[in-house]
């Protein structure tokens, strides 16, 4: 992190921010001591489940909400006291927005907002027309806002967000409620804009793992109003996986996986069921956990020495949800275990050994619990669901909340 100076302030500088809502029957602590620094030019993500505090933090940074404690600055401007200056250089777009005047056309709606941001009348029209072309809403230019589809409306909102060429762009779950195609379209716009103007900063909140993984340079994982971990996606994944996990397809394997397990650098080896339906091409599938990538060479040599042919070799990596589960002990979609309501997750808590639901019991390996081993699986397909997570019989701990896992393990 570079040192901020008055001449080059941090894009976002949050220190000790707390936000408490006075509600009945008891106050809600939405943010519980947030410290966050974002450099200018970063595309920074806030990742967390619903109710984690992401939107609350964005509302504080966009001057819509005051912190109960702590300070927050955006490009050096205090969000509590220097709102006017800050509003001139930022913009925001939220997902699932229904805002807008239905009676106006897309062009008129955007022009109205251009006036709010101080653009001249003619300049406003010109910029609106250019933005509509750039965003790909040319066919909807003269269409009334009330008749737009969800995806088109969100593109219009995105265009609104770019009207004043913001130095910092806040995106609060921008793809919420959009279909795959529309969501991809919005993400591409984000990437394209960011690439074109590298000096601009984006703060993106999302609960979609793949989105954060794909877009963000650094991510903060948030839950219960606290930041549990910050890092690049790769750094975060390395927290939960210190070994290298590979899946090999072999034509044969003399001596079974136990022979491989005795090789140097191999933590565990196990055979998995061959999922292919090709009877003519029967393969032996082996899941390997190695101390590091370098140990792979020894395995390959050993296999060559016994005449086995490697048909396929894939490396598996944990996902951000695995990271989250490691930090918190549950998936995004899982309910909190009873009695955990008052607990605040500790970022330094370390690994959990709880077995997660959805494990594919057929692929039983000796990996360390918590690692997101997905035999044959590419995790980054945009799904939020927990994936199969193999665990060795002696290390796994069945999750009592998952009946399906119980059945599979028995």
């Amino acid at each position: 992190m570079s040192a901020a100076t008055p001449a080059n302030p941090l894009a976002i500088d949050v220190r000790g921010v707390r936000r408490v809502y006075k509600s009945r029957p008891h106050p809600v602590v939405a943010l519980d001591g947030i410290d966050l620094q974002v450099e200018p030019g970063e595309l920074f993500g806030l990742l967390g489940p619903n109710g984690a505090g992401k939107t609350t933090l964005i509302k504080i940074l966009t001057t819509l909400l005051l912190p109960s404690e702590g300070t927050a600055r955006v490009f050096g401007f205090d969000v509590a006291t220097q709102t006017r200056q800050l509003r001139r250089i930022m913009n925001m777009v939220a997902g699932g927005e229904q805002s807008g005047y239905g009676i106006l056309t897309v062009r008129e709606q955007l022009w109205m907002f251009s006036q709010f941001y101080g653009l001249g009348t003619r300049e406003g029209w010109r910029r609106v027309d250019e933005l509509i072309d750039a965003i790909g809403l040319d066919d909807q230019r003269h269409q009334r806002v009330s008749t737009l589809s969800t995806g088109e409306r969100q593109k219009m909102n995105f265009a609104r967000g770019l009207l004043n060429d913001p130095w910092i762009f806040f995106l609060d779950e921008p793809t919420l409620g959009l279909d795959v195609s529309a969501a991809r379209s919005v993400r591409e716009l984000v990437v394209e804009w960011k690439a074109a103007v590298p000096g601009r900063t984006i703060l993106l909140t999302t609960h979609y793992m793949a989105e954060a993984d794909e877009l963000c340079e650094r991510i903060a994982i948030v839950d219960h109003g606290r930041i549990l971990a910050i890092g690049t996606p790769a750094e975060l994944r390395r927290r939960v996986q210190r070994e290298s996990i590979f899946r090999l397809e072999l034509d044969r394997l003399e001596g079974g996986s136990r022979a491989l397990a005795r090789l140097p650098g191999v933590v565990s080896a196990s055979t998995a069921a061959d999922e292919s339906n090709d009877r003519e091409r029967q393969a032996v599938v082996v899941n390997l956990v190695l101390e590091n990538d370098a140990a792979l060479g020894g395995v390959v040599s050993a296999l060559g020495g016994v005449g086995a042919t490697i048909r396929a070799l894939r490396k598996s990596e944990p996902t951000l949800e695995d990271v989250f589960v490691e930090l918190v002990g549950r998936g995004f979609d899982d309910a909190e275990p009873p009695g955990d309501g008052d607990q605040r997750p500790n970022a330094d808590q370390g690994l959990r050994t709880d077995h997660r639901p959805g494990t594919d019991a057929r692929s039983v390996t000796g990996n360390r619990p918590g690692a997101g081993n997905r035999p044959g699986g590419d995790r980054t397909d945009g799904s939020d669901r927990l994936r199969a997570d193999p665990a060795s019989p002696d290390r796994r701990r069945p999750d009592p909340s998952s009946e399906r896992v119980e059945e599979e393990l028995v």
Binding site: Q98, G100, Y101, G102, I103, V145, S146, T147
Partner: protein, 322 residues
Amino acid sequence: MTTRSPAVHEPKFGTPAWGGFDPARTRGRGAADVRRAFSTATRLGWQMEANWTDPVLFFIYSVAKPISSALIFVVMIDVIGGGSTRELRGFVVVGTALWSFVMSGIAGLAWSILDDRERYRMLKYVYVSPSSFLIVLLGRGVARIAVGAIGALITLAVGIALLGIPISLGNIDWPMLVAVMIAGLVTIVAVGMMLAAVCLQTRQESWSYPEAAAGALFLVSGAVFPLSVLPAPAQLLGYLSPLSWWIEGVRRAIMPGVGIGALGGPGSIFAEVIGRASPSSPEIIVALLGTGALVTLGAIVGFRLSDHRARDRGLLDQTTGS
């Protein structure tokens, strides 16, 4: 709408014993469904109407609004007109009190459409439920009429207590009152249905339409002055409006023997055409039923047409930002 009572032995949804789709569920239960939909909508409407965070404010609203309406006219006839009799004050106060019903009935259905479409975004969900959309709207409208009734009663009470209007419980013609009130309320709801049909189609700023419509009807309903004061074409509209017969019928029922009426009188087209000074009570009831039936029929047809057009143009789930 079919419902299942929570029987002990009913198979749990999704279990093998549940058996899957039951065609009987599509048949509905006729009058029972209508009753349930209506009562649920009425309950919902009342909760929304009575959902004031400050009961004192609700009380002020219920009292101040109708009484102010009556006082405007009392001042006009009493202070500016150079004085009035108890009977004349009674004429005006009863007319303005009854207009609370009209106002709330007309606004009730129309604002339910606007509320559900613009504020709560629930219109499409109500529409696609098995309950009749019209029944649900009627239920919601009834709740608002109840609020209007409170205002009317308070206005009459204040009129009796402070303005000396000649209403005495012992003199009320109850059978006539019940008959005209039932017929009149049906008519009011029908007019409300017409406004609701309009609001289904309009987009921007329709909130004031019910009041505007009520204000226009006020002119030709004999609520605060005899129809004979109007030019002949306007008088004709008044005689064709069921609201005129309704107000007159209620006046006859609660102030029998009071000589001042809105219908008939010197210079009226009733006197010229029929040859008598004013209609009798049975004539009032018959005219109310006849004109009311026509208006109700027209309202039902109009609402169906509007409903169809709204479906055709996708207006049911749009929000217009108004």
